[in-house]
């Protein structure tokens, strides 16, 4: 090979690198390990972190994932392909994405969906940017955010949008709920509401939706896609429905995996599609007139529109979308519905049993779904620490971390994976630890 190139050795191939750039010094990097040695090291670490039971949600949920989902998603042809730039050689991924878009749009009861964003948090940022671009009638660049929108999402969105002169105005929650009447922004460009909200409570989405519409603000719905099998979908909220819906796809067959990779999804009414960021797949015809799939509306994207693109996103979260599409196919309508309702019933049971101990009660009284805030008679920090250290149990999210008024509160959920026995065990430990502390 060197001969064909006409050099004497490999070093010569680097002769355009100026000598004044020092040679890299990698001495601090270890010598190479074999796969076996690498696995030994990383297995040890993985084992170190294993816990046995999870009652924590707050945006990432411990659901059952059918074995088929990842067996299929990790087939080499899905796992090791690039973005489907050559459509004819990527019909598998492209058709899958078309099916995904159909499922997501339909779950949200909106017209279109894109092929994913990074995650729920950055997805909200993109949704806001999209809304601002789309809502040309708005006078302000202010966005009203419901008080109980996932705080991690709000922070993330803020990082993304503030550089474009967009201001996020968060309305403090009222007993856990978003009351737009307590908002002093007259002309928001968009309104963001989450259903169920971060505290698991059901917002009055119809009223909020109408409130936004009256102000010509676009409505952005942050949702947990699994709950849409049971809850009224954003497209059907109020008189005209939400304009944009976004959220994190983790509940759809993606392991918690420390939060990533998961994927952000984005759905909207058709009229906003040209402001949508990210890949979109369309169905078309080939030279023979047969059906085929291809990336479309690429004129929105950075590789064509460059500085004027709807977003800079390029690599997205395709593999997770693959898994989610397979998950939704296996689960179907009934599977999703039953899973969501079972989570709700399990959480209901958990809450009832906790209240029965006399050491806990609901922090908010309005209806919740799937997840719930519990006020504890005792030190929440000590409780969660002991639960982990002594029992390997994640006992929920201590809300004091994000809201001082909820210092003695835990955000809890019991997914469909939690058995009665596990919940009973948790309740017993909960009560015992609080008593002893």
């Amino acid at each position: 090979m060197l001969q064909s190139i006409g050099v004497a050795n490999i070093d010569e191939l680097f002769d355009e690198i100026p000598d004044s750039v020092p040679v890299a010094n990698f001495r601090s990097i270890e010598h190479s390990l074999t796969e076996m040695e690498m696995m030994q090291r990383l297995s040890e670490r993985a084992r170190e972190d294993e816990l046995s039971l999870c009652f924590l949600g707050a945006g990432s949920y411990d659901h059952h994932i059918p074995a088929a989902v990842w067996d299929l998603a990790t087939r080499g042809e899905f796992l090791t392909a690039y973005t489907p730039y050559q459509a004819e050689a990527s019909q598998g991924t492209l058709q899958l994405l078309y099916e995904f878009q159909t499922m997501m749009a339909s779950l949200a009861s909106l017209d279109v969906a894109n092929a994913s964003l990074y995650d729920g948090g950055s997805g909200l940022g993109e949704a806001i940017l999209m809304a601002v671009r789309s809502n040309r009638s708005a006078h302000s660049r202010k966005i009203v955010i419901g008080g109980a929108v996932n705080p991690f999402y709000v922070k993330t969105a803020n990082t993304l949008v503030r550089n474009q002169g967009i201001e996020l105005v968060q309305v403090p929650h009222d007993n856990g709920l978003f009351d737009p009447l307590q908002c002093d922004v007259d002309d928001p460009s968009a309104v963001v509401v989450q259903q169920p909200n971060f505290y698991g409570l059901l917002e009055n989405v119809d009223a909020i939706s109408n409130w936004a519409a009256e102000r010509k603000a676009l409505l952005i719905a942050v949702v947990n896609p699994l709950t849409l099998a049971v809850l009224k979908p954003p497209g059907e909220w109020g008189a005209s429905g939400a304009d944009i819906s976004c959220g994190d796809g983790q509940p759809l067959g993606v392991p918690m995996a420390s939060g990533g990779p998961s994927f952000g999804f984005l759905c909207s009414k058709m009229k906003h599609v040209r402001q949508m960021p990210g890949r979109i797949v369309g169905r078309t015809l080939d030279a023979n007139g047969d059906v085929g799939y291809t990336l479309t509306l690429q004129a929105r994207e950075q590789h064509i529109r460059r500085a004027k693109a709807t977003s800079n996103i390029c690599t997205n979260q395709g593999l997770l979308v693959t898994a989610a599409t397979i998950y939704m196919s296996i689960m179907g309508v009934a599977g999703l519905r039953h899973t969501a309702s079972r989570c709700h019933e399990n959480t209901n049971y958990l809450v009832a049993q906790l209240e029965a101990t006399g050491r806990a009660q609901r922090a908010f009284s309005s209806p919740y779904f799937h997840e719930c805030v519990i006020r504890c008679a005792g030190n929440v920090d000590a409780l969660t620490k002991t639960m982990i250290s002594d029992h390997g149990i994640l006992a929920g999210y201590p809300l004091g971390d994000i809201d001082p008024t909820l210092e003695d509160c835990l955000l809890l959920c019991a997914t469909e994976r939690r058995t009665r026995e596990e919940i009973d065990l948790f309740v017993e430990l909960f009560s015992r630890i609080l008593k002893e502390s």
Binding site: M38, R45, V205, M256, A257, N316
Partner: protein, 485 residues
């Protein structure tokens, strides 16, 4: 292989995969107006139908596991299955993102190790692993540059310079950061036009975004001069790490004058691209920008690993994701780095460069035109099919489609924009000489075909599941979701 009906076409109302359907839960007490009435369009199929459908779909994809995939700028090299296995262990997969640090020491140690490795690899001061792809890394970089200038009281610097050959994410990122983009010319030899740079740089310059090797696939020889020019004007240098594969272990971006950069772990560190993603785009900075890094990072306190959040980095540009980026991809990258080790990293650059130069030499001998014939290829190189387009009426696109019939993925086409009818070809270090030789054969064969009957090439592909697709129609007659009709 026939085209495959959508999963909705095989759906039948009421069919369920019983074994995956838990008993329904009780919903009494929920307000009626909160509940769903409409039935979503989801497949109603058996588990076998799902398995068969997606197995079939998968077989309609080219991939690294199945095909030579010389997609320039994308570094489609072998994705070690061991790295994937390591990250797929239950201890990692079942970890809730809000698990406290004291119960996550295994994972945090992985992140720490990766931070340390990337510091060495880049020659920078500090690393944040948070960004979830190259483009998000760019965004983080841009925001840090902005924050830095603002902290210096320098509010007028609202321009980012990029070479005309730059990747689309560079200008798009500049916009998202609230900057304007100014494009610098590329000289005939592929290097940045220094005079044009000098003309554009100035007090409004926030920074410059560059790759090196550049998107023209050559090493930017005057990089140190460029650094001086931009720095002297008060701007900062951003390194787009997409091409880091070419110099791994040879030279470090930190030694080329860059202040901030991202890496594409799904390129240089061989994490699988999943048909679109996920990736990971960690950012590395020198001490100037350290305070602004996106959170969280991992630190060490008395032998315990801790999360570093806004309490430790009050000037941070903030969060870029709800939790901690694409954690699973970071573990894969660490696994890959461990297996490469010190000596492997250098081998990556050497063999990537060897393969690219060999392929360039062979294609050139076969009569194809290199875009920069006087330059060394780096880990990739550009050819232009301008002559073929002119003489034979077959365009780069036609060559690309016809290559598919030879069971090879096409190289990147029409990028960078400034080279007409170009192929950006990146064979990577994990391909054998035999595969490269086959590629040269295929290219020559296609040109022969074009000489004899250009329709064979212009109507390609012929052996794929579909013939050439009508992209114009796709954008005009928008059909983005399935519906029963």
């Amino acid at each position: 292989m026939p085209t495959i009906p959508t999963i909705f076409d095989t759906s039948e109302p009421g069919r369920i995969a019983g074994v995956q359907t838990p008993k329904a839960g009780d919903l009494t007490g929920l307000p009626a107006e909160a509940l769903r009435v409409s039935k979503p369009v989801l497949p109603e199929v058996s588990e076998l139908q799902t398995v068969r459908h997606f197995t079939k779909l998968s077989q309609q994809n080219f991939s690294i596991d199945g095909n030579f995939y010389p997609l320039g700028s994308c570094t489609m090299k072998y994705n070690p299955r061991g790295a994937h296995r390591a990250a797929s262990q239950p201890g990692f997969l079942s970890r809730h993102p809000l698990t406290p640090a004291f119960a996550s020491q295994g994972l945090l140690k992985c992140f720490w190790d990766l931070q340390e490795t990337l510091k060495t690899v880049t020659g920078m001061e500090e690393v944040s692993l948070v960004p979830m792809a190259g483009a998000q890394g760019e965004l983080a970089g841009g925001l840090m540059i902005r924050a830095y200038h603002e902290d210096c009281g320098d509010f007028d610097r609202d321009e980012i310079l990029v070479p005309t050959a730059a990747h689309g994410t560079n200008p798009a990122t500049a916009t998202m950061c609230g900057f304007k983009t100014r494009e610098i010319k590329v000289a005939a030899d592929g290097d940045v036009d220094i005079e044009d740079l000098k003309r554009l740089v100035g007090p409004k310059t926030a920074g410059i975004m560059l790759t090196n090797p550049s998107t023209c696939a050559v090493f930017e020889r005057r990089i140190l001069d460029i650094a001086d020019i931009v720095h002297d004007a008060g701007g900062l240098l951003y390194y787009d790490g997409a091409n880091l594969n070419a110099i791994l272990g040879k030279v470090c971006p930190g030694d080329m004058g860059f202040d901030v950069l991202h890496l594409n772990l799904h390129k240089t560190f061989a994490t699988p691209h999943g048909g679109g993603g996920p990736g990971a785009g960690p950012v590395a900075v020198n001490s100037l920008l350290q305070p602004y890094l996106p959170i969280p990072m991992v630190g060490k306190l008395n032998d315990e690993y801790i999360w570093l959040d806004e309490n430790y980095f009050p000037l941070t540009i903030g969060k870029l994701s709800a939790f901690m980026g694409n954690a699973g991809i970071l573990i894969r990258a660490l696994a890959y780095a461990l297996m490469l080790g010190r000596e492997g990293m250098v081998r990556v650059a050497e063999f990537a460069t060897l393969n690219a130069n060999y392929l360039a030499a062979e294609l050139s001998k076969a009569g194809f035109q290199l875009a920069y014939p006087t330059r060394r290829a780096t880990h990739e190189f550009l050819i232009t099919l301008n002559r073929e387009a002119r003489d034979l009426d077959v365009r780069a696109l036609d060559f690309a489609k016809r290559l598919l019939d030879f069971d090879m993925h096409a190289p990147t086409t029409y990028f960078p924009l400034l080279v007409p009818e170009c192929f950006l070809i990146e064979p990577t270090e994990t391909e054998t000489k035999a595969v490269l030789d086959e590629f040269v054969c295929a290219m020559s064969k296609i040109r022969e075909e074009a000489q004899e009957d250009s329709d064979i090439v212009k109507q390609a592909p012929h052996n794929q599941v579909v013939r050439r697709l009508d992209e114009v129609r796709a954008a005009r007659v928008l059909d983005l979701t399935w519906s029963a009709d």
